[in-house]
């Protein structure tokens, strides 16, 4: 198009338009309104409705009655819920650092310029992100399996017993492996994109100072990655605490280990859809949301304090 022409008119007109500028401000509502309407209907309304539902209780006689905070006091002393929350918290504390370290290492390696076939690595590691959690879990479930699973076959060739990936002690780690496999590439791409945006003259200055690739990575790239890392961390908090698909799909393979309250989300699901305890399920969902918000803010606060110190 006539880019130069529009730029020229813009330059010649900028004096005049500065006066008329502010009067356009209200047109902004026109642009944000469609989004905000859907936001209100699909996010705020369900949230408010969940809060409302959670204050009621269904009785065999008398139907639904107001129950105040009863569902919440019940939830706070519900061992199955607490166990589930602690389990996903443990999952978060172990899986997320491993995943983000792998993503960080991969992003730095690909950005370092020291790597051959960097583009192949970048795409290859990212590919699992395009695999739905359902497919990833089915696939890994088969790989873990004792019958035709790859690991069982290899163990058999080596004369060892089939590894028990979905036993009581190993199920969470096996799920962690699936989630790591799914999301390292996604986080890597976010970090890599942030690295690409580091101003080039910073690297040149570092090179003039005689900094090598490792030193540049440590002193320039890592600090520049802080906001992107934080973003990945927040997404990981959300992802970990609402873990659902992976345990849900592995459940038939290990019904005694992965029960209906293995994660809080699985618990809310089974409460609502098999137990018909909709009101209690709403309270559990709402509390889970609260846990996630608190965990996310804690992450934000801790990292902010550290950056100031």
């Amino acid at each position: 198009m006539s880019n130069t022409a529009t730029a020229a008119t813009a330059a010649s007109a900028s004096r005049k338009s500065r006066r008329t500028g502010p009067s356009h401000a209200n047109s902004g509502y026109l642009f944000v309104l469609p989004f905000l309407l859907v936001f209100l209907a699909m996010l705020v309304l369900p949230l408010v409705y969940a809060a409302y539902l959670s204050l009621f209780r269904e009785q065999l006689i008398g139907g639904t009655v107001f129950a105040g905070l009863e569902n919440y006091t019940r939830a706070l002393s519900d061992d199955r819920l607490i166990e589930g929350v602690l389990r996903v918290a443990r999952f978060f504390l172990i899986q997320v650092p491993i995943m983000l370290l792998l993503s960080l290492a991969a992003a730095l390696a690909i950005d370092s310029g020291l790597l051959r076939f960097a583009k192949t690595f970048r795409l290859g590691i990212f590919v699992p992100y395009a695999v739905p959690a359902v497919v990833a879990t089915l696939m890994w479930g088969y790989l873990y399996g004792p019958d035709f699973g790859l690991f069982a076959q290899i163990a058999d060739k080596l004369g060892l017993g089939a590894p028990q990936f979905l036993s009581e002690g190993h199920a969470l780690a096996s799920i962690a492996n699936i989630v790591t496999w799914e999301f390292v590439g996604y986080n890597m791409i976010i970090l890599y994109a942030a690295l690409r945006a580091v101003p080039h003259d910073l690297y040149e200055a570092a090179a003039v100072d005689g900094a090598g690739a490792w030193r540049t990575a440590w002193s320039i790239k890592l600090p520049a990655l802080r906001p992107a890392l934080l973003l990945c961390l927040i997404f990981s908090v959300i992802g970990s605490f609402q873990l659902f698909s992976e345990p849900k799909l592995l459940q038939p393979l290990a019904p005694n280990v992965i029960d209906s309250s293995y994660t809080p989300n699985l618990y809310a699901y089974s409460l609502a859809f098999t137990g018909q305890e909709v009101n209690y399920a709403a309270a559990v969902s709402f509390l889970l949301g609260l846990v996630i918000v608190v965990a996310s803010y804690t992450v934000l606060l801790v990292s902010n304090r550290r950056s100031r110190a």
């Binding site: 209200n26 969940a50 051959r116 992100y129 088969y142 994109a193 690409r196």
Partner: protein, 311 residues
Amino acid sequence: MTSTSPATSSLRTAGATATAPPTRHRRSLAQRRSSVLTLGMLALLIYFLLPLFWLFVASTKTTSDLFSSFGLWFAGDFSLLSNIHDTFTQNDGVFGRWMLNTVFYSVVSAGGAAFLAALGGYGFAKYRFLGNNVLFALVLGSIMVPTTALAIPTYLLFSEVGLVNTPWAIILPSLVSPFGLYLMRIYAQDAVPDSLIEAGRIDGAGEMRIFFALALRSLAPGIVTVLLFTLVATWNNYFLPLIMLNDPDLYPVTVGLASWAAQAVGGSGSNAELLALVVTGSMLSIVPLIAAFLLLQRYWQSGLSAGGVKG
């Protein structure tokens, strides 16, 4: 060599190793390091790609071959085509329906979400209306609201108004992408110069016309990014369709495959043959997305780097 524009930056990595005349004396060191690093990354790459290779190999086998042959290599009979044929004809061709449903849900959702995010992000970036910051902070804060915590109340609301078990039950909730809005706001800030908007006003164009005729073109890489990421989110979604739909004809491929897998889990009797179909269906279901990412990589990568600038 010193270019930093997003379009050319991907060339820099390749250029740096191939032609680096000023640091010739350090080249041998760099190359030694790169071998170690390359080997390490190769190990990582194998971890990510080997399961997919296994899946492909498995999709060429009959159910009995799955049990009797080694997972990382092909069995005597190459059954890929007959598996694909069986996958598409099982239950009167329901698998094809599931794939079409998935494509439909994700394309409509992603298109709608990207459009709303582009419009909204542009509005938040370019107009200083009253409440701009408050509203934007509200939307941004909602990124932390878990979508699955919303799913149950959304289900109950939808069942009140008869939307459950319709395509709308999947599409409507997927139209909101707070992260998409955030990305588009950042992107619009830099990609659409104020002078362009002012030039449009001088020419007498309305605000909407400026957006569609002038700004949209500059926003394209950002829009493609949001489009792809919401596409993946809807394509991969399992929880929402699981609770919203109970008619198998409406299932997306994720829920459909999971239902087959649940039937095949016994692995014996009449359901035994289903196992090969679950494996083949899984393999088929990931092909379109991987292809989309490979074809559109130039766009989503430049769009993402804009998001990374201010993180």
